[in-house]
């Protein structure tokens, strides 16, 4: 964690902080919504980076915790409980508990088993959400934004934006501290050589499970913000492609760098927004087929984009550990 990385993080956050005044000056409220959305996904991607980048745990079901957080808000709101001081603890508790249970079972395995099992568990909750007819089933349900007893007005675009911003900044700061702590060292060491860490006397399973649960909880918080952002909750949040997209954001930005995934989320969502428009400019009706370009872009990033966007800035080349991390 060198100085350049800290400066890059601060510069990125400063840019996010400057967005609302700029949108007011240039009268472009759309961009505030878009960046708010980017920051919500950035929180989820950063939480994934803790276990994927630092812990070497390739979780292919991370979007599910976003879904748990979102559904906690949606279901409480359905019963008229819009108080955020109630919703947030419930959402965090639920995503922590589910992360703990899924993690406890998934972490018994390694490698490709771990990838597939996390995917399978995520799919399980996805189908569970679809079967909940009371809460809209497949179609989902609309929900109110959280209330904070008049302290914060989530319906005020500016206040809501800064709530997301503060959460992102706190998550980045907290995880930055965590990664540098003894706990973070154990997690990273276990990624490099789990067996040796066990031989030295560290119960790596417990450390990894703690990291997995923490990542799930933070992702649940992103889910709370996501439900507030959309005022709508549906099983689609948990769809496996979203878990894949979160992984892409982490890789695109730079694994194991924390700020990298924030840049990755920004780049991915901007691409998703503007690629169809660029293609539409090149050829009429081409925009709807944007995935035909997006797919090869992803492949190219994976094959050639070592270190992601972060490496472009920080010039520290992250080297893949060969087959070891898989």
């Amino acid at each position: 964690m060198d100085r350049r990385q800290i400066w890059l993080s601060l510069a990125t956050l400063a840019m996010f902080a400057a967005v609302p005044p700029l949108t007011v000056i240039f009268d472009q409220p759309f961009y505030m919504d878009m960046i708010a959305r980017i920051m919500v996904f950035a929180i989820a991607a950063v939480s994934l980076d803790l276990i994927l980048g630092h812990g070497g745990m390739v979780s292919f079901g991370h979007a599910v915790y976003m879904g748990v957080g979102a559904y906690a808000v949606g279901i409480l709101s359905y019963y008229g409980l819009d108080n955020g001081f109630l919703q947030i603890p419930v959402a965090l508790g639920a995503s922590a508990l589910i992360g703990l249970v899924f993690g406890a079972m998934s972490l018994r395995t390694t490698g490709v088993y771990f990838i597939m099992i996390t995917l399978a568990f995520a799919q399980m909750l996805y189908f569970l959400a679809i079967s909940l007819e009371e809460f809209g089933g497949d179609d989902g349900m609309s929900s109110m934004r959280s209330e904070f007893g008049g302290v914060i007005d989530m319906y005020d675009a500016m206040q809501f934006y800064y709530v997301i911003f503060v959460v992102l900044a706190l998550v980045l700061f907290g995880l930055h501290r965590l990664v540098l702590s003894r706990f973070g060292m154990v997690i990273r060491a276990a990624r490099s050589n789990d067996r040796r860490m066990q031989a030295v006397g560290f119960p790596t399973y417990r450390y990894k499970l703690a990291a997995f649960t923490l990542a799930s909880t933070i992702c649940g918080l992103a889910g709370v913000l996501f439900a507030n952002l959309n005022e709508f909750v549906s099983p689609d949040v948990m769809h496996w492609t979203h878990s894949g997209e979160l992984m892409v954001m982490v890789i695109m930005g730079g694994m194991g760098t924390l700020i990298g995934p924030v840049l990755g989320a920004t780049a991915f969502l901007l691409l998703e927004e503007y690629l169809p428009q660029w293609m539409e400019m090149a050829m009429t009706n081409a925009g709807e087929h944007w995935a035909i370009i997006m797919g090869p872009i992803l492949i190219a990033i994976v094959l050639f984009g070592r270190g992601g966007i972060h490496a472009l800035f920080a010039a520290t080349i992250w080297r893949s550990g060969g087959k070891r991390n898989g």
Binding site: T109, I115, M116, W240, L298, I299, K323, N325, G326
Partner: protein, 307 residues
């Protein structure tokens, strides 16, 4: 509860199970010898289904369409292996997952461009639409029985290939040490291409048989792919025998569970609660099964390789 209904659902489960086996077989073969996670395997199911629908339209014959679609799917599989997947074998699993995730986006869009976003229906010829009474009093669609028969036949063929042919010997040798196989003078590259294309044909066949049962649309292979993952986790990655047993298990548990569980729950809780909880629990049943098996055997029922 109606025994006949249960029996009928058992057959449906069997049919679903062999379909999952067709998909899981290729996935587990490819993983076994190439150490490769291929998410785009589900796309091959979709491509098989589309090719079959198109060729059935051209030839006007169901069997004729299938006869053309099978070699075509083989060719597509070989092409995908040579162009895209070959570069991924040496990458780690994370990179394989993400690159093949990109391939899925690409394939779904290609299909949408060629065949359009609307669902296609291929329909069945008259001689396949009938029903037979294998059990007195319970007529059962012929086509579903044919799917079961085809699935079992393919399982037999794969077993025969893997256990009793030179190719199978190479596949098994490749699974334990593919560098050594290459060093002994076997063209490992073309072996990989052939095995991948073979797996593509099995997956495509599942799509071809699925087509007449449901509609053919972009992305039809993906939910099946995730179930195929569950199958090979339960069966043990790399094991054909494990994949077969697990596929039947998952197919039957899922299908029968959806019918039986709500009824079963009524014995314990109120009807209203059972009607709500039944479908919810039933949709999670195979994942609970998977978790339970993993607690007992973390490497699946028939672990074929360690690590």
């Amino acid at each position: 509860m109606d025994t006949l209904l249960l029996l009928e659902q058992f057959f449906n489960g069997l049919q679903f199970g062999v379909m999952l086996f067709l998909i899981a077989a290729g996935l587990t073969l490819v993983f076994g010898i190439m150490d490769m996670v291929n998410l785009a395997h589900g796309s091959l199911v979709m491509i098989g289904a589309y090719l079959a629908t198109t060729f059935i339209g051209w030839t006007g014959s169901f069997l004729g369409g299938l006869a053309l679609a099978i070699p075509a799917t083989f060719a597509v599989g070989a092409l995908v292996e040579v162009v895209a997947l070959r570069t991924l074998y040496r990458r780690n699993h994370l990179e394989q997952v993400l690159a093949t995730f990109g391939l899925i986006l690409f394939f779904n869009e290609i299909v949408r461009i060629i065949w359009g976003p609307i669902s296609l229906y291929s329909g069945l010829p008259d001689y396949l639409t009938g029903q037979v009474e294998i059990i007195p009093g319970a007529p059962y669609p012929v086509f579903r029985l044919i799917i079961i028969a085809v699935g079992l036949a393919v399982a037999g063929i794969i077993y025969a290939i893997v256990a009793h042919t030179r190719l199978g010997m190479l596949i098994r040798a490749g699974a334990s040490n593919n560098e050594m196989v290459g060093a002994l003078g076997i063209n490992i590259k073309s072996l990989f291409t052939f095995v991948f294309a073979l797996g593509a044909v099995f997956a495509g066949l599942a799509g071809m048989l699925l087509g007449p049962l449901t509609s053919v649309e972009p992305g039809i292979g993906e939910p099946l792919l995730i179930l195929a993952f569950v199958v090979i986790i339960i069966g043990g990655i790399g094991s054909i025998r494990g994949a077969f047993i697990a596929a039947i298990l998952v197919g039957v548990v899922d299908t029968v569970g959806r019918v039986a569980l709500p009824v079963l729950l009524r014995a314990f809780v109120t009807d209203a609660a059972a009607d709500t909880a039944g479908p919810a629990v039933a949709s999670m049943l195979i994942y609970i099964l998977m978790a339970a098996i993993l607690v007992v055997r973390p490497q699946g029922l028939f672990p074929a390789r360690t690590g």
